[in-house]
């Protein structure tokens, strides 16, 4: 096994920072602050010498007219440009420079927007992108105001411009009047025209030009990036709403049909059952697991086959020491869970096989409930209702909520669509013939339960869900453990999807609904959802914070309501629901990270091994778990 790839996280995090930078910069350039005039240094010019200083441009329509007038009269002027306008009008900017006029910086987004060094740097970057140079002239010197912002009469404007009989005359090239005043001033007798400065532009370095190209691209294309963001968010939101609608509709229908069948229940079905428990280093859990099975109230024979898959902690000894009747312990070299399951299945005597992990606790009626759907001879597998036992801490509550609002509700939807893709390893039952048709338990994926369930469905068997068959499983108690568990689940699910991809062109429900459901909600949605978080962050930090808050809250309320409905369907208390909003901050991002990591791992072709989760052994305190001998100590892996 090679270490799972990690370098992509650098790319993803940096990529997100860059994207945020692009859209934030785009938004920043769209803001046009009020122009602020700063009293620059007084520039001494000889009497009857004028320096025409144009502000507000470059403008695509009016600046060329000014340039035409200056060209006709052979006068060199100075253009104090704003950085955003330079990026918007690169051709006009180039023409200014090519025709020998001087260029200064007025600001980045408006006149005076050069007080902070960053804005000055951004304006220079815009020039570097367009001209390959930056200017030493930042901010206009003290000027004689032509009054062209306040007056229209040319005569008045000329008089105002010449009232000091020389100096730097303040004009604007972002309106029609700029060219007219310039023409009139050039016709005044006795005046000489110079530029504000003779200092030429300074050639920009490669990094300045590159930075300029990046900021210019961001200014021009940030809107496109936002549209792409918006599209991804729209798809994610639609998928989210679709899933909620399906949850509300199909799960409700499924539950109603179930209630109707309960009103007139079929005869109780009680076939003999073989329970297969693969275990690897479960010494501290196995006794409680086996005792909970032995304490069943099933009406027919229940045989237990514990398969110790080369444990080094005495798991097999602990199981044998119990001395419980009907319990067989097999020992084998470590070959992996699928091999252990296959060994247990071959040893089992009965045709109905209950498979569970070595850290699961059954309730007394779990086995009896689990096998009821087998009364229908078309049913090849049955999923039970796995519940989180250690739900005391925040992480435990989150997982409990996810089991109910995510996995179990999903399972009810998929049951209604007849395409349950996973009979969980924690609590599931199979007909031997179905397993045989599927070719046994395969070791080609890390999610052997999903792989087997898909194979069984493709072989033509129905997979049922029995929510009354509850099993208490221990959820990881640390974020690291949770990541490792979900990583294996997610990666294994993708492996199974790929392995059974041909189901898409087959006539069964697995391809028509199951694979598409997984593709949409377990692959596409988690990959798109981070963009939504990013957009919310953008909304809060850059755009309209109140609107972002309202949208985010609306989605959160919808999801919380959906989770509450799921808890109610599952007969659970609504109390843990308070932890649901907090899920949005760490837990949800972790689930995205798992999917991203899985996709990257698949692309790399890395061989992963089974990642065992660190145990706490707190199942003894699980609600509804009154099994004598449940572990009461904290267990370590």
């Amino acid at each position: 096994m090679r270490r799972a790839p990690r370098l992509h996280w650098v790319s993803i995090l940096l990529g997100l920072v860059v994207l945020m930078g692009v859209v934030s910069f785009h938004a920043y350039t769209a803001i046009r602050p009020e122009p602020v005039r700063h009293a620059g240094e007084h520039r001494q010019l000889p009497e009857n010498t004028l320096a025409l200083a144009f502000h507000g441009g470059p403008d695509p329509k009016w600046t060329p007219r000014v340039l035409d007038v200056l060209k006709e009269t052979g006068i060199r002027a100075t253009f104090f440009v704003t950085g955003t306008q330079v990026t918007r009008n690169p051709e006009v900017t180039r023409r200014i420079a090519e025709e020998g006029h001087r260029i200064g910086i007025d600001g980045f987004r408006a006149e005076g927007d050069h007080v902070t060094g960053l804005n000055r740097a951004l304006a220079q970057a815009a020039l570097a992108d367009v001209l390959g140079a930056h200017t030493p002239l930042v901010g206009a010197p003290a000027e004689v105001d032509s009054g062209d912002r306040d007056h229209q009469d040319i005569g008045t404007l000329v008089r105002m411009s010449l009232r000091e009989r020389g100096g730097v005359v303040r004009l604007h090239d972002d309106g029609s009047i700029g060219a007219d005043i310039a023409r009139e001033l050039t016709r005044q007798p006795g005046y000489r025209f110079v530029a504000v400065t003779d200092e030429p532009l300074v050639t920009a370095s490669g990094t300045e030009r590159f930075t300029g190209a990046v900021t210019a691209w961001s200014q021009r294309n940030g809107g496109v990036v936002l549209v792409l963001f918006g599209t991804a968010i729209a798809i994610a939101a639609l998928l989210g709403l679709l899933r909620t609608a399906m949850q509300l509709g199909l799960a409700h229908t499924d539950r109603r049909l179930r209630r109707e069948s309960e009103a007139d229940p079929p005869p109780w079905f009680a076939p003999p059952v073989s329970v297969v428990v693969p275990a690897y280093n479960e010494a501290l859990n196995i006794a409680a697991t086996v005792r909970s099975i032995a304490a069943n109230d099933h009406l027919a024979d229940v045989e237990v086959v514990v398969v110790d898959d080369g444990s080094t902690d005495g798991t097999a000894d602990r199981a044998e020491e119990l001395g419980l009747p009907g319990v067989t312990v097999l020992r084998q070299d470590n070959q992996g869970k699928p091999a252990a399951l296959n060994a247990g299945i071959s040893r089992a005597r009965h045709d109905v096989l209950v498979l569970l992990d070595g850290d699961t606790i059954f309730e007394p009626d779990t086995i009896g409930q689990l096998v009821q759907p087998f009364a229908d001879s078309a049913v090849g597998a049955v999923s039970g209702n796995a519940k989180v036992g250690n739900r005391k801490g925040l992480l435990g509550r989150w997982q409990h909520l996810e089991y109910c609002a995510g996995s179990n509700l999903d399972r009810q939807i998929l049951h209604a669509l007849r395409c349950i893709p996973t009979v969980p390893g924690a609590v599931g039952a199979f007909r031997r013939a179905a397993i045989t048709d599927a070719g046994g338990v395969s070791d080609q994926t890390l999610a052997e339960d999903t792989d087997l369930t898909m194979a069984v469905t493709r072989a033509g068997w129905r997979v049922a869900y029995r929510p009354q068959a509850k099993a208490w499983t221990e959820a990881p108690s640390s974020l690291r453990g949770l990541f490792r568990q979900r990583y294996r689940w997610s990666y294994g699910t993708f492996q199974s999807m790929w392995k059974h991809r041909r189901a898409l062109v087959e006539s069964g429900p697995m391809g028509r609904f199951g694979l598409l459901y997984l593709l949409a909600f377990h692959l596409l949605l988690p990959l798109l959802a981070p963009v939504m978080d990013l957009y919310v962050l953008y909304g809060f930090l850059v755009a309209d914070a109140p609107l972002a808050f309202v949208v985010w809250t609306a989605f959160l309320l919808l999801q919380t309501a959906s989770a509450g409905y799921a808890l109610r369907l599952d007969g659970e208390s609504l109390k843990p629901l308070w932890a649901y909003p907090l899920q949005q901050l760490v837990y949800r991002q972790l689930t995205y990270a798992v999917v991203i990591q899985s996709v990257i791992t698949a692309a790399h072709g890395t061989q992963l091994r089974w990642m065992k989760v660190r145990r706490t052994g707190l199942l003894g305190s699980a609600p509804g778990c009154g099994v004598p001998g449940s572990p009461a100590v904290v267990l370590e892996e």
């Binding site: 370098l7 000055r120 990046v214 080609q444």
Partner: protein, 41 residues
Amino acid sequence: MQVFVDGNGGRRVAAGAVSLSVACGLIVFAAVVAGTLLGAW
């Protein structure tokens, strides 16, 4: 053999090279842009 697992290592090497190139490219990109702007600031 498991699904997705690259038997001869070619895909792993190629994906690793792409991953390394993208990460390095982004690091250089971010360093140049941020460095230039901060320097001018």
